[in-house]
């Protein structure tokens, strides 16, 4: 029988108690238990970044965390980026700069970008490329994504 644990976690601003198997990854819990399918699954070895979420202010690969590890944490997924006024400046910039093509990597790119901008409000191109190097995009919209992050930084400051 699987061991389970009740964890308390704030997901996109909403405090929740979730019963999780102790051997379940955070990614599986998000996608399969609480229907937050915006977070994507691809490489499951922490290389592609499609599963990136923000835990206590830092971007992490949810495929490499056990769900029990976020007990007590504050968690943001792509579904939590929109504000009361609609798309966040970052999301809007992704649309305006054409950063989303097939879109599959975009939730992860957005979360990495959001975490970057949280710590660095005025990043250079190099800092953006370094900050998002853990997010693969096979459409290779890297230039558009970088431009979008720059534009979002400008829009906020």
């Amino acid at each position: 029988m699987d061991d389970t644990l009740d964890i308390n976690v704030t997901v996109n601003g909403r405090p929740r108690t979730i019963n999780v198997a102790v051997n379940q990854t955070l990614l599986d819990v998000l996608r399969n238990e609480i229907d937050l399918t915006g977070t994507k699954e691809c490489c499951v070895v922490g290389e592609c970044g499609a599963c990136t979420v923000i835990v206590d202010g830092r971007s992490v690969n949810s495929c490499l965390m056990l769900a029990v590890e976020v007990d007590g944490a504050e968690l943001t997924t792509v579904e939590g980026l929109e504000t009361e006024d609609g798309l966040s400046p970052l999301q809007a910039a992704f649309l305006d700069e054409g950063a989303a093509q097939c879109g599959f990597c975009i939730p992860g790119q957005l979360m990495s970008a959001a975490a970057l901008l949280e710590h660095n409000q005025d990043p250079t191109v190099e800092e953006i490329q370094e900050g998002l190097a853990g997010n693969l995009c096979r459409c290779a919209g890297y230039e558009q994504i970088t431009k979008a992050v720059l534009a979002a930084a400008k829009a906020v400051t």
Binding site: C48, L95, A100, A133, C137
Partner: protein, 745 residues
């Protein structure tokens, strides 16, 4: 109203993509679904002796294990060209990762546990065909049983087909220089960030299938035939793929999942891991021999090209890759005599399939490198030798095929942008290369457009939007033609029960072919509006003109929407338009038809090589494509940038690495390297030549593949200039460049 065509509005479907609400195949959860895990062996070739499911069946949650014995006998085989691929391995596995059984369970974890416990008694078979030399050896192991190809004289070989194309007599040409060399192109994989996924559920006397497939209608046709159901009973849902690049064109595990769903009587679903996608799709590797004759001024007198494409254990669409790419192997050059032999060769490896560029990157790597060699030997500038041999606009360069653009303008633009001829800093080099790829040779697309009473519109199209932005393009066309604001247009795709037939989403066709169908559907509506206006205002139809979304009466102009609303009041309703675009098959043409258009590209690159480590830095990378017209400039640039970066992948770092048992050692994201945001050229320029001379709406041609056609020869030439070494194998890894430098010493 502002024109939409030529602008770069926000992407159709963009909102879902930046909010996480876009539903990809793996995001669709049906209640009561069984999860599937494939059972595979840890080797390429094995004789299957028995399959024991006892332990797997005991795993809580496991419902059943599908084995070959549970499928119709003889095992159904499928494939777009040859029906050679069995649903599960029959008797022996022929490549690493070929499934021998599949476990269906209530949870993914249980299915995985079950798959580990299925006991496949097997004998690892000695040897295997892993390269062209092995495959063509006189005593070569046969990958496929000759009985699969009755009446085929090649059935006793590993050659599926040998294509012979050409014109003129290559032995009759007066030449001053002949350059001959062999080039290798590795096996690379699509690596779409969305792994392939499949789901099926029986529906009364029919079946519903979900797939990440690019061609829902091709899948529908195949499944209907296999299951002996009418087309009307096979419904295919094809949610927007999360990247396709050709790797999602052809059915893979849909037949397996369909049979499992029919057995289970409930939804059954399989989502591959990234590692499993490496075992499902790849590009054909190739060995290419090019022998080219020149006169002393660098004019090409003949090309003698032999392409040996190593495809996988089953043909998939690879034989078409070989024929289509070999046909234009001589490239965009004026050549009096050409001889081309193209071979499709089986091997004990992942079945290769369509992949952006469709065989052209392999061939142009060899052809363009040989032209560079000749230029150096003749003392002619590498740009100049290409310009001398470039066909002019409308000039036939393959019998029956004309240059469909001002290609010189493309080449000169790229040369200017890279600074061709400018002095080089130390350890740097530049390269330039040109190439072209045929667009679709046949096509059939239908579109339906509904202009709704409130002036909004819906477009129904069987195209798959996998990132190329088809939704946006079709909406832009309808916006201009009907006068509907873009944000009031919904584009419906990906459901064969809803959208009309489309042949496929491939060969950069959709803007041209489906775009034309959408345009014609809008014109159908315009025609109806004209009739409405004639009736409303008591005019002769001849007295009324349509100017896109305007209905022009003798004395005034009305918007098409106003006319429609007035005519339909008071009951409301809508106007439905249908459009069709057909490019029929030409049985006399070796490819079944001429190219609808060419994607012509010139790529130029400047690199700096670290002479101690062999590492290459891309200082500047330029690609210029003749696109006819940029219907959406941002999308065109994004596709071109993306193709260029993907091309840099196979040029610099991507390749499968095998062990001696045919296993791919670098499955997955850790040891198969693709470019990240930190590996980009310091400057990347993608530009378009726009002369509105294409066959699509407003003069467009297809785009999306051009920028990776000649990445390798351009970068290879730049590295050659920087280092003074010639490398004929890809990828040009630091180690390989370093080894070449050592050899030079």
């Amino acid at each position: 109203m502002m024109k939409s065509v030529g602008e770069s509005p926000r992407r159709g479907g963009g909102y879902g993509r930046v909010t996480g609400h876009q539903e990809y195949m793996a995001d669709i959860h049906l209640p009561d679904t069984l999860q599937v895990k494939l059972v595979t062996l840890d080797c390429a070739r094995a004789k299957i002796i028995s399959i024991d499911t006892t332990e797997a069946d005991k795993v809580p949650g496991v419902q059943f294990v599908m084995t070959p014995a549970d499928l119709p006998q003889p095992m159904p085989r499928f494939g777009p060209q040859f029906q050679d691929r069995p649903i599960l391995a029959v008797g022996e596995t022929k490549y690493f990762g070929e499934p021998v059984a599949a476990v269906a369970a209530e949870t993914k974890e249980a299915a995985e546990e079950g798959a580990r416990l299925v006991k496949v008694e097997h004998e690892v078979l000695e040897g295997g065909v892993y390269c062209v030399t092995d495959a063509l050896a006189a005593d070569a192991l046969l990958v496929q049983d000759p009985s699969l190809r009755p009446n085929d004289p090649l059935a006793d070989t590993n050659i599926i087909d040998e294509k012979n194309f050409g014109w003129g007599n290559i032995d009759d040409q007066p030449v001053d220089l002949i350059v001959e060399d062999n080039y290798q192109f590795p096996m690379v994989t699509h690596f779409a960030i969305e792994p392939h996924g499949f789901m099926a559920v029986p529906d009364g006397d029919g079946i519903v299938i979900w797939s990440t497939i690019q061609h829902p209608y091709l899948l529908q046709k195949m499944m209907a035939k296999m299951l002996d159901m009418p087309l009307s009973k096979v419904r295919v849902h094809a949610p927007d793929p999360g990247g396709g690049f050709g790797g999602k064109q052809i059915a893979k595990f849909e037949p397996l999942i369909a049979y499992m769903a029919l057995r289970a009587g409930r939804p059954v679903r399989l989502v591959l891991t990234l590692d499993e996608t490496f075992q499902a799709v790849r590009r054909s590797s190739a060995e290419i021999r090019v022998r080219t004759g020149f006169d002393s001024e660098g004019y090409i007198q003949f090309q003698d090209i032999e392409t040996n494409f190593l495809v996988g254990a089953y043909v998939d669409i690879a034989d078409r890759v070989v024929s289509k790419s070999s046909y234009s192997a001589a490239g965009p050059y004026r050549v009096p005599a050409v001889k081309i032999i193209g071979r499709t060769i089986l091997s004990h490896t992942t079945p290769s399939t369509a992949f952006r560029g469709f065989g052209i990157p392999q061939i142009s790597w060899a052809r363009e490198s040989v032209i560079d060699e000749a230029a150096l030997q003749l003392g002619i500038d590498r740009l100049e030798i290409r310009l001398r041999n470039l066909p002019r606009y409308k000039e036939a360069f393959i019998p029956g095929e004309e240059a469909d653009g001002d290609w010189e303008q493309t080449v000169r633009t790229a040369a200017k942008r890279i600074g061709w001829g400018d002095p080089l800093e130390p350890n740097r080099g530049r390269g330039i290369a040109i190439g072209l790829k045929s667009g679709p040779t046949t096509g059939l697309s239908y579109a339906t457009v509904r202009l709704l009473y409130d002036g909004s519109a819906m477009i129904y199209s069987g195209t798959s939007d996998m990132g190329q932005g088809a939704r946006t393009i079709f909406a832009q066309i309808a916006a201009d033609e009907l006068g509907v604001p873009l944000d009031e247009i919904t584009v419906v795709m990906g459901d064969t029960a809803v959208v009309p037939y489309d042949q496929q989403t491939s060969a950069s066709r959709s803007s041209v072919l489906m775009g034309t169908a959408v345009l014609r559907a809008c014109q159908d509506i315009q025609g109806k509006a004209l009739t409405m206006a004639a009736k409303l205002y008591n005019l002769d139809e001849d007295a009324i003109k349509i100017d896109s979304s305007l209905v022009v009466l003798p004395d005034r102009e009305l918007s098409l929407i106003d006319v429609m609303q007035e005519a339909l009041a008071p009951l409301g309703g809508e106007v439905v338009g249908n459009g069709e675009m057909r490019k029929d098959k030409d049985p006399s043409h070796p490819l079944g038809g001429t190219a609808a258009f060419f994607e012509f590209n010139c790529t130029a690159s400047e690199v700096e090589v670290d002479m101690e480590t062999g590492a290459t830095t891309l200082i500047k990378h330029v690609t210029v494509g003749d696109v006819g017209r940029s219907l959406n400039p941002l999308q065109v640039k994004s596709q071109d940038d993306g193709a260029a970066i993907m091309g840099l992948g196979h040029t610099l770092m991507e390749h499968y690495i095998f062990d001696d048992q045919g296993r791919i050692r670098n499955l997955g994201a850790i040891d198969y390297r693709i470019l990240t945001s930190m590996d980009l050229p310091l400057e990347l320029h993608s530009e378009s030549i726009e002369n509105a001379d294409g066959p699509g709406p407003y003069g467009i041609k297809g785009v999306s593949e051009g920028s990776l056609l000649v990445t390798a020869p351009a970068v290879g030439a730049a590295i050659r200039e920087a280092t003074g070494t010639v490398i004929r194998d890809l990828p040009l890894t630091p180690q390989r460049v370093w080894e070449a430098l050592q050899e030079k010493k």
